[in-house]
């Protein structure tokens, strides 16, 4: 008889697991939410205290993230006597770790954060407002407008981050494939029509390679892939004051339909929708895709012999073109990258700022960006990298005109909602979801807008 009791008891214990689990998840924030962030009133002296150690969280930006960055900051330590402990935090956990650290008041001194995450983290209240200090590094004027916007929170005063390095999306293509298809690279991706015509020519004349591919809803950056086409058509993610979603406007719909239309026209390899961003990137590097939208880091990996994801043919024939222009005559692309944020509870705020300043020096910016295959965040060093080759020039131009999303704390959630719906639409176009037609697209975008409006209506009350 006790056997029966034992089975029932263990079943109940198992049954209760999820309720307990959600409570656990929030716990580390709960205990510590009440803790004072007393460290912010640390000594405000001008001189730096030698021998202290700053903790810096970084994400896997380069092949050896921790070692590379540790080497990069060695001159800072030599000059100031301030030690830097570089700690690597994976991209898969960085959102949770930074959020928990900001809420708990127990974290490093400085952290790297994705540009679209900054407003959310800033709203948690755990970071220093750097407004009074930014003039020391040239202020707003030292950065491209789109990049500087990523340090702000819409509707609030304050500068919550300093841009660290930058990326924008451009079109990667295979020069040899274009040649076989008989298309002139100079005009191949000029506007949306020629972009489509180029893909069609590749499909017709070069059968052993897929014309184009992009990841599906598994990719963290699906929205960055689709939004340039939405912007091309005059659409937008939110209205100007970020109070309402406009993703279901006719213009936005036209943009999403352009991307989905590439699938229905057989120009977009639909099997790529099963993959995430890195996997699709490797498909281009492996020579299975002729055209692909990607960031500058891929350019940086061409010369890296140990990167064996490249096929020889692809490695030798990489070309980069700016994104095609839309009906308005303007080309749009997503500009992102990473910023540095200083924790409010840092016990060494002066030293932390000194490190941020060091990482913003032109030479450090160029050296580190080069290591990453990214672009420096500041205009002058950016220009230097842009001048280094034809392909880099395409990225430099993309950064100058690149666009980012409204800097509001709810953006991450809205992006998730859009990602889901964009994914569903692309799946439909690939023939594995609801029947693909204008009504399906419209209903998905209406649902996305409704969800976004609900998220925008969230308040602290």
């Amino acid at each position: 008889m006790p056997k029966r009791l034992a089975i029932v008891t263990s079943a109940i214990a198992l049954v209760l697991a999820p309720a307990a689990f959600v409570a656990c998840g929030g716990d580390d924030s709960s205990d510590s939410a009440a803790k004072p962030s007393g460290a912010s009133n640390a000594a405000q002296g001008e001189t730096l205290e030698k021998g202290v150690t700053l903790t810096l969280w970084t994400m896997p930006n380069s092949p050896q993230p921790k070692e590379d960055l540790q080497k990069m900051v060695a001159p800072f330590t030599a000059k100031t006597g301030v030690n830097v402990d570089v700690q690597e935090v994976g991209w898969d956990v960085q959102f949770d770790r930074i959020r928990n650290a900001a809420v708990a008041g127990e974290g490093p001194d400085i952290t790297q954060a994705g540009t679209t995450q900054v407003p959310f983290f800033a709203a948690l209240g755990g970071f220093q407002d750097l407004t009074d200090k930014v003039e020391e590094i040239g202020g707003k004027g030292a950065y491209a407008e789109g990049i500087w916007n990523t340090t702000q929170v819409q509707g609030q005063d304050g500068t919550w981050a300093i841009p660290w390095f930058t990326e924008a999306r451009s079109l990667y293509y295979r020069k040899d494939v274009l040649e076989k298809a008989g298309v002139d690279p100079a005009t191949a991706f000029k506007d949306l029509d020629s972009f489509k015509a180029t893909l069609q020519a590749i499909k017709d004349k070069v059968p052993d390679v897929q014309p184009f591919g992009a990841p599906g809803k598994k990719a963290y950056d699906l929205v960055h892939q689709v939004m340039p086409f939405v912007w091309d058509q005059g659409g937008a993610e939110l209205n100007a004051d970020a109070t309402q979603s406009t993703i279901n406007s006719p213009e936005s719909q036209a943009g999403v339909e352009f991307m989905a239309g590439l699938i229905t026209d057989g120009l977009f390899d639909k099997s790529q929708l099963e993959r995430d961003g890195t996997q699709v990137e490797n498909q281009f590097k492996g020579g299975r895709l002729a055209v692909w939208i990607g960031g500058p880091w891929v350019l940086g990996s061409i010369d890296r012999a140990e990167d064996d994801t490249w096929s020889d043919e692809a490695r030798e024939n990489v070309g980069v073109a700016p994104m095609p222009t839309g009906p308005s005559g303007k080309a749009y692309t997503f500009v992102g990258g990473s910023d540095l944020m200083v924790f409010k509870n840092s016990e060494h705020p002066n030293e932390a700022w000194a490190l941020v300043k060091f990482l913003s020096e032109d030479q450090t910016q160029v050296d580190y960006a080069k290591l990453l295959g990214m672009f420096p965040a500041r205009l002058d060093p950016q220009q230097q990298v842009g001048d280094s080759s034809e392909n880099h020039k395409a990225f430099f131009e993309a950064i100058q005109t690149g666009r980012t999303y409204a800097p509001i704390p709810q953006w991450g959630q809205i992006e998730n909602a859009y990602k889901t719906r964009f994914g569903n639409i692309l799946d439909s176009a690939a023939g594995v979801g609801k029947d693909y037609n204008a009504a399906t697209v419209k209903s998905q975008l209406d649902a996305a807008a409704k969800e976004a409006d609900g998220l925008l209506a969230q308040s602290a009350g």
Partner: protein, 328 residues
């Protein structure tokens, strides 16, 4: 029968039912204290890591937790039944349709996973129960999927399902020509099968070993007698094997259903944080809305509802199988 089963053993009954003989109650109490002392650490641990967080989860389900308030956690504004109303009745709330989609998917996933695991496990156990050469080797090999972590299972199958280069389509299309076109497994309606099949594959060995133990403990005389009386293999399975395995099936069913309903790793790793409308399960939905979207109130409320649903399942299961659990 059930009532008597769940009553405490006679020693633990209140002292007043005992004859009032001097000295006995005190000794008994002392002995009880010793027993309580022994279970105290386990009890304290259970309260700390299980009951308190569970109670916390229930409290959170009544709070308005969003991007702006989640950091205050238990101090967040009280929302009453708002989360539950939004999930269950507010058709204008996008979380409502997402929740019911996930409920449906979880039911489909659980049905096929549990059905496949139990039926497959039983079938393999029956095959392995026959005397044959290399039985031990085959049995050991059959256990292999069980020792592979869910994470690895999901990663492996994700590669195998890929429509263009995956081995499954290669076999189905290129080698055997069973299909003329390459199906896309990881998107749309197929994605449900893409998670059900690896889940069955992973669960089979445990079910198999469980049933095999039951089969081997079965007295062979029963089958022999039935065979002499002219019963064929099917009838012997139907009237001897299956009834004798009922308690084992009952226990397996209970745990498999709970395990499948709470499945997270396989869909999450294979299909990402949002597996899409055809394969979004309750756990992926709860984790995504709580931890990516900061809607911890919604997540807690959905967890509580899921927990209640599982309590109902345990109750139904108990009524259906209570006789099978008695030690005869």
């Amino acid at each position: 029968m059930a009532q008597t089963t769940l009553q405490p053993p006679p020693e633990a009954r209140p002292a007043r039912s005992l004859p009032l003989r001097a000295g006995r109650p005190r000794r008994r109490r002392r002995r009880n204290w010793f027993a309580y002392g022994l279970i105290a650490p386990a009890l304290a641990f259970m309260v700390l890591v299980h009951l308190i967080p569970t109670a916390g989860g229930v409290v959170l389900s009544f709070k308005r937790l969003n991007t702006f308030t989640f950091a205050r956690l238990f101090d967040a504004p009280w929302a009453g039944l708002e989360n539950y109303r939004g999930i269950l009745f507010d058709t204008a709330n996008p979380l409502h349709s997402g929740f019911f989609g996930a409920v449906q998917n979880t039911a489909v996933y659980t049905f096929w996973t549990v059905g496949g695991t139990l039926a497959g496990g039983l079938a393999i156990a029956l095959l392995l129960n026959r005397p044959m050469r290399g039985q031990r080797l085959v049995r050991t090999l059959m256990l292999a999927p069980w020792i592979v972590p869910s994470f690895v299972v999901a990663v492996l199958w994700q590669f195998m399902w890929q429509s263009d280069v995956g081995i499954i389509n290669k076999v189905l299309v290129d080698y055997t020509h069973l299909l003329s076109e390459r199906p896309i497994w990881l998107l749309g309606e197929n994605s449900m099968w893409a998670i059900v099949i690896p889940s069955i594959w992973r669960g089979l060995p445990f079910a198999m070993i469980f049933f095999l133990a039951g089969l081997q403990a079965m007295p062979p005389e029963l089958h022999e007698a039935a065979a002499i009386d002219g019963a064929g293999p099917l009838r012997r399975f139907r009237y001897i094997t299956l009834p004798l395995l009922r308690p084992l099936i009952a226990v397996q069913l209970l745990f498999c259903v709970i395990y499948a309903t709470y499945q997270f790793a396989i869909p999450y790793i294979m299909l990402g944080s949002n597996p899409g409308p055809d394969a979004d399960l309750m756990m992926t939905l709860i984790v995504r809305q709580s931890f990516s979207n900061n809607l911890f109130g919604f997540g807690a409320a959905a967890s509580v509802l899921l927990t209640l649903a599982m309590c109902v399942w345990v109750a139904v299961w108990y009524r259906a199988f209570k006789r099978d659990l008695e030690v005869k």
